[in-house]
């Protein structure tokens, strides 16, 4: 029971970190970046190659993959989404799906479809035992990383100048421009943060589920998107809560109901939440402007 809860929280922490990227980008650019999940995969391959082919240690490999994903996120935004700033949201959505397929297919060309086995990052570190419950080091790191990221982002958006500007932009781009805030730069920063977090999420995901292939990011990406909607899209604590709940529900559904049905149950819960509370658990009420 406790074992399941802990692995649910651990998986949910990965979803939560991915969901942060969805929710921050949605909050500011009002778009769903469906390529976000594939940035995770790119992060996975970059760290994999640095460790397996270049022989780097885990830490420099992770830092390098954060750097690459951050730049990738900024590049995607500049090239694919920025030209569509005044286009319909449907056009942006289709473009995002296109970028997602582009990244998957580029990965297919570069790394082929055969799965790679991700190196054991925390090899040799003994699991911690709490009574009968075994806590692997990867689980501990994942949960800690999630907490640190959550606290860090909250401090960032509430107390730094650029963080406050991000909140201003998410509310009213025109008024933010009048204040002298460069809206395009703010959107770039948001993509950079979201994509950097995706790299971290990729490493954490592969530390627990070490199979890497070009589609590795898509399912966790969709689940994390679900988590973001579940918690209330646009809300940072909502992404956290949604992610963790989703992970726990998924693991419990796998353990007690059916492995095959677990995804159906996860998405079923989302549908129920959206019927009862369309803005998600912590979503802000959208008030009509008069």
């Amino acid at each position: 029971m406790l074992d399941y809860l802990i692995s649910g929280i651990s998986l949910g922490s990965v979803y939560a970190i991915i969901a942060l990227g969805y929710t921050m980008v949605y909050g500011i650019a009002k778009m769903l970046n469906f390529a976000h999940g594939d940035v995770i995969m790119v992060g996975g391959y970059v760290s994999f190659c640095s460790m397996s082919y270049l022989g780097w240690g885990p830490l420099p490999a992770i830092l390098f993959s954060i750097l690459v994903c951050t730049l990738l996120g900024i590049t995607i935004e500049r090239m694919a989404y920025k030209p569509l700033r005044s286009a319909t949201s449907l056009a942006v959505l289709i473009t995002a799906i296109g970028v997602s397929y582009l990244l998957q297919n580029l990965a297919l060309i570069i790394w082929s479809s055969s799965p790679k086995v991700y190196p054991d990052l925390f090899g040799g570190v003994e699991p911690v035992m709490i009574g009968e419950t075994r806590l692997s080091f990867a689980t501990i790191v994942t949960i800690l990383a999630n907490i640190i990221i959550m606290v860090g982002l909250t401090l960032f958006t509430n107390y730094t100048k650029i963080g406050k500007a991000m909140r201003a932009v998410s509310e009213d781009k025109g008024a933010a421009t009048l204040m002298g805030i460069n809206v395009n730069k703010t959107i770039s920063v948001t993509f950079a943060i979201g994509s950097g977090l995706a790299a971290i999420a990729g490493v954490l995901l592969l530390a627990s589920y070490p199979t890497l292939q070009p589609t590795t990011g898509s399912m966790p990406g969709i689940k994390a998107f679900t988590a973001a909607v579940f918690g209330g899209i646009g809300s940072i604590p909502g992404a956290m809560l949604g992610g963790i709940l989703l992970g726990v529900i998924e693991i419990f559904a796998k353990a007690y109901i059916s492995t095959q049905l677990s995804d159906a149950i996860v998405f079923g819960v989302l549908i129920i939440v959206l019927i009862v509370k369309p803005t998600g658990l912590l979503g802000k009420k959208v008030s009509e402007k008069v």
């Binding site: 406050k164 201003a168 509310e171 009048l178 204040m179």
Partner: protein
């Protein structure tokens, strides 16, 4: 008096709709100038174009001798030109204090505290509520916050778009008193108003805008007594 803002033969389109059809006017340093006119005359469009939010098809906008056309919208405020937009548009989910800090976004950090104190002096209510979320303020307080936020950029020319909109009469009087005191403290003001009587009573000069064209202009007290203006904008 030196000319501060000079708008010359401005044409603005929304798609194929010709909203501003050759508007020219000037604002001199130290003045309160008002643009009056009915709904849809193009008053807000004119201000938004000066602030850089809209791009004119043709025409010239000069502020303190240099053109502001081609300056990216987020850099216009840096030149000493601020717009307090129609409908206030304060950041509802940010606190009062954070809204003011956003107003000072382009200014060096060490000058922000002093400007904040000045705004609090002008609007003591804002000081009382500085930690409150802006969306919870009353309409009058939100207008004060919007004006205070615009002042945080330390503008030499402040453009106010419909500051009295939707406010109770007693608050309207208060807002106009504040506009006069901001002007006395050295800020030049370009005021757009539907409340023509109040606007003309505080302004030194005025322009009447009708469907994208300036149809009358002159000293505010002369327009206040002009029969045509009385009939069209002052309720007879």
């Amino acid at each position: 008096m030196a000319t501060m803002l000079k708008v010359n033969d401005l044409h603005v389109y929304y798609g194929s709709i010709h909203a501003i059809k050759g508007v020219s006017f000037e604002v001199n340093e130290g003045e309160i100038v008002t643009l009056i006119g009915a709904n849809g005359a193009g008053k807000s469009t004119t201000l938004n174009t000066i602030a850089g939010l809209l791009k004119p098809r043709t025409g010239e906008i000069e502020f303190e001798g240099s053109s502001v056309l081609g300056v990216p919208a987020h850099k216009v405020v840096n030149k000493g030109l601020a717009l307090c937009p129609e409908g206030r548009r304060i950041f509802q989910h940010l606190t009062v204090e954070e809204n003011l800090e956003m107003g000072a976004y382009t200014r060096p950090a060490d000058e922000v505290a002093e400007s904040k104190e000045k705004v609090y002096e002008l609007f003591p209510r804002m000081k009382e509520r500085y930690k409150q979320t802006a969306g919870t303020l009353s309409g009058g307080e939100q207008q004060m916050l919007a004006m205070g936020r615009a002042l945080m950029s330390k503008p030499r020319l402040l453009m106010l778009d419909e500051p009295s909109m939707g406010l109770a009469p007693i608050l309207v009087d208060q807002i106009f008193e504040i506009i006069e005191s901001m002007n006395k403290a050295g800020t030049t003001i370009l005021l757009v108003e539907q409340n023509a009587r109040m606007a003309l009573s505080v302004a030194s000069r005025a322009y009447v805008l009708e469907t994208g064209l300036i149809t009358m202009s002159g000293d505010a007290d002369k327009l206040l007594n002009d029969d045509k203006v009385k009939k069209a904008y002052l309720g007879g």
